[in-house]
């Protein structure tokens, strides 16, 4: 198990109440934020926008600094659902296994979403059962 950070008390998001304060580019409504240690976003679009986009950027084109977050746009690697599920469930290099904080349905939704957006159009939706099976593989592999 990954150790839980000391400051990691349980989280509870408040309702998105009240008008935005000032900021010019503020959206009309606040994005919901998760409670606790699992993402509350539902659906591939919302999960991508609030989770994946943190690093891979809202346009999925990645970013370059001392090293890079790879672009997921028009990405030939994404033809492999096994690869995507492995990355989400086991992590890859510095990327944490974010699927640990998602349900099978959430992982399936976000994988399917990325495989069908941003210049990707791979057929075949990933199902929660696929994710469940991949999760078992991820935890039993050496």
């Amino acid at each position: 198990m990954r150790r839980v950070a000391l400051c990691a008390i349980a989280l509870i998001a408040t309702a998105a109440a009240g008008a935005p304060v000032g900021a010019e580019d503020a959206p009309a409504t606040n994005r919901a934020m998760s409670r606790g240690w699992e993402f509350s976003e539902q659906g591939g679009a919302s999960l991508f926008r609030n989770v994946c986009a943190a690093c891979h950027q809202p346009d999925a084109k990645g970013a370059v600094g001392a090293a890079a977050y790879p672009s997921l746009a028009s990405d030939k690697k994404l033809v492999s659902t096994d690869f995507m599920l492995s990355v989400l469930l086991r992590g890859l290099n510095g990327m944490p296994p974010l699927g640990d904080m998602m349900s099978d349905a959430q992982v399936a939704d976000v994988v399917t979403y990325v495989r069908t957006h941003f210049g990707n159009s791979y057929p075949g939706a990933v199902s929660p059962a696929d994710v469940s099976a991949a999760r078992r593989r991820a935890t039993t592999a050496p």
């Binding site: 000391l6 990691a8 989280l11 010019e24 690093c55 600094g65 290099n93 296994p97």
Partner: protein, 532 residues
């Protein structure tokens, strides 16, 4: 920050006492004579005896690990060269002040608008007293320290689901939680529930101990009165002259505290990592990195993006892009390499090391963390709420609000740490927002605890570590399994290359881990050099 076990505290405390009275060297002799010195990971300034005969070392990364290696190796007679991606030294040891400009991955640029003297430490911000190495370097390099206030009994614990969303003073929760639990234990003792566990005589002592611990009254009850008020404070404080008599407060019922879950946050004050005394550098954590860099003037090449790390029997060759010259490819050659690049970066750089070390480099995910610095037109937390330093904890996504530990009771403007997330969904969700939206949300959340936010907020800045170009994350987030499988491989000297940094330590995400890792790495490297 990982949770550390807290063994050996009593012995450490003994040495603290010795150290404070007769000096560090004497303390070390005491430790040695008692046979405990091997338990101390830091044994004073490193001594690299033996002539390196002009050997050269290239050091990758001018954070605290890299600069520790550079400073000590140069003193030992090596020719050192440091390559640093940023235009400044320090790495994650970093302070943002008014006028500083920060561009995150994705291109969003923030210009800090803080007034002079105000700052945010986006990375490390507090130093435990038992982090001997960094404290020693601060003393040697003239970095002035001041107390960092971790526990302030008058700060708040807050839950959106408890007490109508109203924050509670830490002293009330702490005193009433202790008092309530201790009263139960006293009841159980008096009913004979502990008869099989301890003797009658010890039960008598236990009851007295419980009365002292929990501020119980003469009937071993925790009730409003002089005893409980001595711990939790008063509804009306004692004063002078007429009408000065204090009024005792009514304790919060134990079941309400249990249901509130506010007790969860109390561990922030119990854990070894956060026990008093904690320190911070006067003027910002970045003062440490600045002081380190002054030790090796002209040895650091800035704007150097390492793109390949090669080695063979005769030396190492580092290829890097000269960022200031349009990315022109250049090379540095040396006999040896100390690589203090975060694994999140290093895992993407071609490097000639064994498959086992490469697997270790690739095995460590990096934590996501977000911090907010918010400037207010007045220090309302001090003026209105009598909160001088310390931290309020909340279950809101901002998780905590930290009040400045310096310039207390002086009036004027102030900057709060308006939030600090470490891992978990909210770190990613905040990171995915544009910086202005992050700050706006942090102000909205904080206003639930301090309504003054709405009128007094002036400007803010946020640093989302997953979007920091030089780290792509906050710190190495080792799982126990990964550490077991890979840690030793990560720390080996591989040919002419050795790694250093917080990721190569058992104190991940702390500066002490970076320094101890570097000291260990160069000691082993030096032995090899002198022997060859």
């Amino acid at each position: 920050m990982s949770e550390a076990a807290a063994p050996r505290l009593s012995r450490r405390r003994l040495f603290e006492i010795v150290g404070s009275s007769v000096g560090g060297a004497a303390a070390y002799r005491v430790m040695t004579s008692l046979g405990y010195a091997e338990e101390s990971p830091y044994r004073g300034p490193i001594k690299l005896d033996g002539d390196p005969k002009g050997a050269s070392v290239v050091i990758l990364g001018a954070g605290l690990a890299g600069m520790t290696a550079a400073i000590e190796l140069e003193r030992a007679g090596y020719a050192v060269n440091v390559l640093e991606y940023n235009r400044r030294a320090g790495g994650r040891n970093w302070t943002i002040r008014g006028g500083d400009v920060f561009t995150e991955l994705g291109g969003a640029t923030q210009t800090c608008a803080f007034d002079p003297g105000l700052y945010l430490n986006p990375g490390p911000w507090r130093i435990p007293y038992h982090h001997y190495a960094i404290l020693d370097y601060c003393r040697r390099f003239g970095v002035a320290l001041e107390p960092f206030i971790q526990l302030n009994h008058n700060a708040y614990l807050h839950s959106t689901n408890a007490f109508g969303g109203k924050p509670k003073r830490i002293r009330d929760i702490k005193a009433d939680y202790d008092g309530g639990v201790v009263e139960l234990l006293a009841k159980a003792t008096k009913k004979g529930a502990l008869d099989e566990a301890i003797s009658k005589e010890d039960q008598e002592i236990l009851l007295e101990a419980l009365r002292s611990l929990g501020a119980l009254d003469h009937h071993f009850r925790y009730r409003a009165g002089a005893a409980s008020a001595a711990h939790r404070g008063y509804a009306k404080d004692p004063g002078g002259g007429l009408g000065a008599e204090p009024v005792d407060g009514e304790p919060i019922a134990l079941n309400d505290i249990l249901q509130s879950r506010l007790w969860r946050s109390l561990r922030n004050f119990l854990s070894y990592d956060f026990q008093t005394t904690m320190f911070q550098p006067v003027g910002g954590m970045g003062r440490i990195g600045e002081a380190f860099a002054r030790q090796i003037p002209d040895r650091i090449r800035y704007g150097a993006k390492v793109v390949a790390i090669r080695q063979n029997d005769s030396g190492v060759v580092i290829a890097f892009e000269d960022v200031g010259a349009g990315g022109t490819l250049r090379e540095v050659k040396a006999d040896w390499c100390v690589c203090a690049i975060p694994l999140s970066i290093l895992s993407q750089i071609p490097i000639d090391v064994s498959p086992r070390m490469k697997a270790a480099i690739d095995a460590v995910p990096y934590a996501s963390a977000v911090k907010f610095g918010l400037q207010f037109s007045r220090r309302f937390w001090e003026e209105d709420e009598r909160i001088f330093g310390g931290i309020s904890y909340t279950d809101l996504p901002i998780r905590q609000i930290s009040y400045p530990s310096a310039n207390l009771n002086g009036g004027g403007k102030g900057v709060l740490l308006g939030g600090y997330t470490f891992d978990g969904p909210n770190s990613y969700e905040f990171t995915a927002m544009a910086p202005a939206e992050r700050v706006r949300r942090a102000v909205e959340f904080g206003a639930e605890i301090h309504p003054q936010y709405r009128a007094e907020f002036e400007n803010g800045i946020s640093v989302a570590w997953s979007r920091v170009p030089f780290t792509l994350g906050c710190a190495g987030d080792w799982s126990d399994e990964a550490r077991k499988a890979h840690y030793d491989d990560l720390c080996q000297i591989d040919g002419r290359i050795v790694l250093a940094g917080e990721h190569a330590s058992y104190i991940p995400a702390w500066q002490e881990g970076a320094i101890l890792s570097a000291l260990d790495a160069i000691q082993r490297l030096h032995k090899r050099v002198v022997a060859s």
